[in-house]
């Protein structure tokens, strides 16, 4: 005899009542959670632009990032889902790019590949015309270490910046980098506009 059969002989058992209570409680809690979702968002910065209950994804606010390098090491993915992105609208197309070449005095002399800043050689320097070059990021090679971003922000136009790339990002429950980011540059943004581009208005 299974316990169930024995129980059901005398009508509703304590177990039945408890189970009913659990299911009702679960339903109520789930319903309440869901209405909370549409009624309130997070802090104003998170809520901005997010319609009630809209799904949110992680993104880096480039104006807050201090290029600490944790984006390369803290992501649950290896290599990181954070990559360098280039805002071409801002780029000076410099001959000597501070995001491309190491800018220690004296090191620029040869301006060859060995003076590249990027540890993985993810930036391609392509001649446009005259003294002008485009710097293209190969996302498959970029590890999101922010060294080029630091160079470009410190000495150049700041057209290189980091973004969570959503074809790679798993949109973790909680972004591991966000927790480690010293400048709290990570935001939850609406999934419909998942990037915080630099110079979009330029």
């Amino acid at each position: 005899m299974s316990p169930h059969d024995a129980d059901s002989a005398n009508g509703l058992t304590r177990r039945d009542v408890l189970r009913g209570g659990c299911i009702a409680g679960l339903g109520a809690a789930a319903g309440w959670l869901l209405t909370r979702d549409s009624a309130t968002g997070g802090p104003a910065a998170m809520r901005a632009g997010a319609a009630g209950g809209e799904r949110r994804v992680w993104q880096i606010d480039p104006s807050a990032c201090v290029q600490c390098g944790r984006c390369a090491t803290e992501c649950v993915l290896e290599p990181s889902a954070v990559k360098c992105v280039h805002a071409y609208a801002l780029c000076g197309r410099c001959d000597f790019c501070f995001g491309y070449y190491e800018s220690r005095p004296g090191s620029h002399a040869g301006a060859g590949a060995e003076y590249q800043l990027c540890p993985t050689g993810a930036i391609e320097r392509r001649h446009i015309e005259g003294q002008h070059y485009d710097y293209l990021i190969d996302e498959a090679t970029c590890i999101g270490c922010a060294r080029c971003v630091e160079g470009c922000n410190t000495f150049g136009n700041g057209s290189l910046y980091l973004q969570v790339r959503h074809d790679r990002c798993l949109n973790c429950n909680e972004c591991a980098i966000a927790k480690a980011c010293p400048s709290q540059a990570f935001r939850l943004v609406p999934a419909g506009t998942p990037y915080l581009p630099k110079g979009a208005d330029a």
Binding site: L26, A45, F155, N173
Partner: protein
């Protein structure tokens, strides 16, 4: 050419020094003008790949529901171990390798808990106001005017005298600092005063559901719970990818002594309490960070995680499903729910003949033997033990909570904000400035969050730990106490039957039962051997 490069280097270095001494967050201005390029130049394309679509999320939930239905049917209705194995492998493929272990019900625990957020309350400082001859209204007005859009929704004041009341997030600490640095002129010809000196800023932890819980997360969290209330832990049998990968390697399982199984099983509650504590205080998602198998599902991850995952799997060859039995926090929730289940997997749906053949069939130690054979303990003594234990429950719980209160300060250091605030505070105390000696303080020095805002935030988070840690440790102690009580209560068991809390409905024991074997033969049309029918 040479010369131009040299200038390009020196000028920006000089500019960089100037900029660095100003606020570093300033978006780098156009140091070099964007050149006019010929007409046919097209700037390279930067794609913006979209996140996983909404439709695919519906698919995930539908797949989960379908898996639960089929697994329950396979375990209870069709009693098919083979079917369960196939489902397990499919689940490993879909939720494990295709969805890369995310989102899963285990991690969803952390999304459905309430969160301590920190609210900053800015009030005019009466003493400072008087000293500068400014009215509280004037100060409030100046603050509100500068808070602008950012805090517009948050300045309610709720009928009290706050000039500003806002949730502390990344932006608000900066905003408060920025406004605090601005100055207003007091009456007369006194020098302007920074607004920050005219107010008191208090930060308070507030327990609330902060970030909204997407319905997909709610569904992933709740569906397996409902399935368990109905049919037992069929989610664990063949749907959970973490269970699946362990099930796949459990080849040479050994039996653990019951007391050891019960004891180790308590760690799951410790883990659950720790995970909820950290999630609630905003200290991070322990379950996701320490998930031993996601690295394997993603075929990438920190080396240490991959090694731990591999280690758990090797252990799992001999000790079946170690994560499920001794650690899984979701399993800890499923155990009591499964006790209440409406239907549950059985070793055989027919009467047990106590042949003992199934006794060692369960690799999870979930089969309980009948206990009616031995001499029953004297009733009176049993009652006394129970009464004593029931008394112990509140005492133990209180002791646990007290221990948590004592430990709260140390536990709080696991929170990144607290750790950051402490590092900055130490440096400040030792050198009178944040010099950036460690990488934490260096990064903080590079950001534009004011030191006092960070310290206030750290204190507020510590206060939330002072509340939450005793609750968590009290919960652990309560579970331990209840376990003692439940071990002392002797429930009469006539037959060999799975312990509903621990049985994962894996179906391994079905084949060991001769009655079940006979039933199968019968269903196939063959006559079962007569002596296998229950005789008593």
């Amino acid at each position: 050419m040479r010369r131009r490069r040299w200038m390009l280097l020196v000028l920006p270095v000089a500019a960089g020094v100037v900029i660095a001494s100003a606020a570093t967050h300033l978006v780098a201005e156009q140091r070099f003008s964007v050149p006019e390029l010929s007409e046919d130049y097209v700037p390279p394309d930067v794609p913006s790949p979209a996140p996983r679509s909404r439709t695919m999320q519906y698919v995930d939930v539908a797949v989960l529901a379908a898996f639960l239905v089929v697994a329950s049917a396979a375990a209870l209705r069709f009693r098919s171990r083979g079917g369960l194995v196939v489902l397990t492998l499919l689940a490993l493929g879909y939720f494990g390798f295709y969805r890369r272990g995310c989102v899963c019900p285990i991690g969803a625990i952390q999304r459905v808990c309430p969160v301590f957020d920190v609210r900053a309350l800015v009030t005019p400082d009466a003493a400072a106001a008087e000293a500068h001859g400014l009215s509280a209204e004037r100060i409030a007005e100046a603050w509100r005017a500068r808070a602008g859009d950012f805090a517009a929704a948050e300045t309610s004041g709720r009928g009290r005298d706050f000039v500003l009341s806002l949730w502390v997030g990344p932006d608000s600490k900066r905003t408060l600092g920025r406004i605090g640095r601005e100055r207003i002129a007091p009456p007369g010809d006194a020098p302007p005063v920074p607004l920050g000196e005219l107010v008191r800023t208090e930060m308070r932890p507030v327990l609330r559901f902060a970030h909204g819980v997407p319905w997909v997360i709610v569904a992933f969290f709740a569906l397996p719970l409902v399935a368990t209330l109905l049919f037992g832990r069929t989610f664990c049998a063949a749907v959970c990818p973490l269970g699946a990968i362990q099930e796949a390697v459990a080849l040479k399982p050994v039996q653990l002594p019951a007391w050891l199984g019960h004891g180790l099983g308590l760690f799951a509650y410790v883990y659950l309490a720790a995970a909820v504590l950290l999630a609630t205080t905003g200290g991070g998602f322990l379950i996701c960070r320490q998930d031993p198998f996601v690295g394997i599902f993603r075929l990438s991850g920190p080396v240490i995680m991959l090694l731990i995952g591999a280690g758990v799997l090797v252990l799992g060859v001999f000790l079946a499903r170690p994560y499920c039995r001794f650690l899984c926090p979701y399993g800890a929730i499923l155990r009591p729910l499964s006790r209440l289940s409406w239907r549950h997997a059985t070793i055989t749906p027919d009467a047990c003949i106590r042949c003992r053949l199934c006794e060692s069939a369960c690799p999870y130690g979930a089969i309980r033997a009948p206990n009616t054979g031995g001499r029953p303990a004297p009733r009176r003594r049993g009652k006394l033990t129970l009464a004593a234990l029931l008394l112990v429950v509140p005492v133990l719980t209180a002791a646990g909570a007290w221990g948590g209160a004592w430990l709260a300060g140390r536990v709080a250091r696991m929170h990144p904000t607290v750790a950051r605030a402490e590092a900055v505070h130490r440096e400040l105390a030792a050198h009178g400035a944040v010099r950036g000696d460690s990488d934490v303080t260096e990064a903080f020095a590079g950001s534009d969050v004011p030191v006092d805002m960070l310290l206030a935030h750290g204190r507020a988070v510590r206060r939330s730990f002072a509340w939450a840690t005793p609750v968590a440790s009290g919960f652990i102690a309560l579970v331990v106490a209840l376990k003692l009580v439940s071990l002392a209560v002797r429930r009469r068991r006539e037959d060999y039957a799975p312990d509903r809390a621990l049985c994962l409905s894996c179906g391994r024991c079905y084949a060991s039962c001769p009655v079940d074997h006979a039933r199968r033969l019968e269903r196939k049309g063959a006559r079962p051997p007569a002596e296998l029918h229950a005789t008593d």
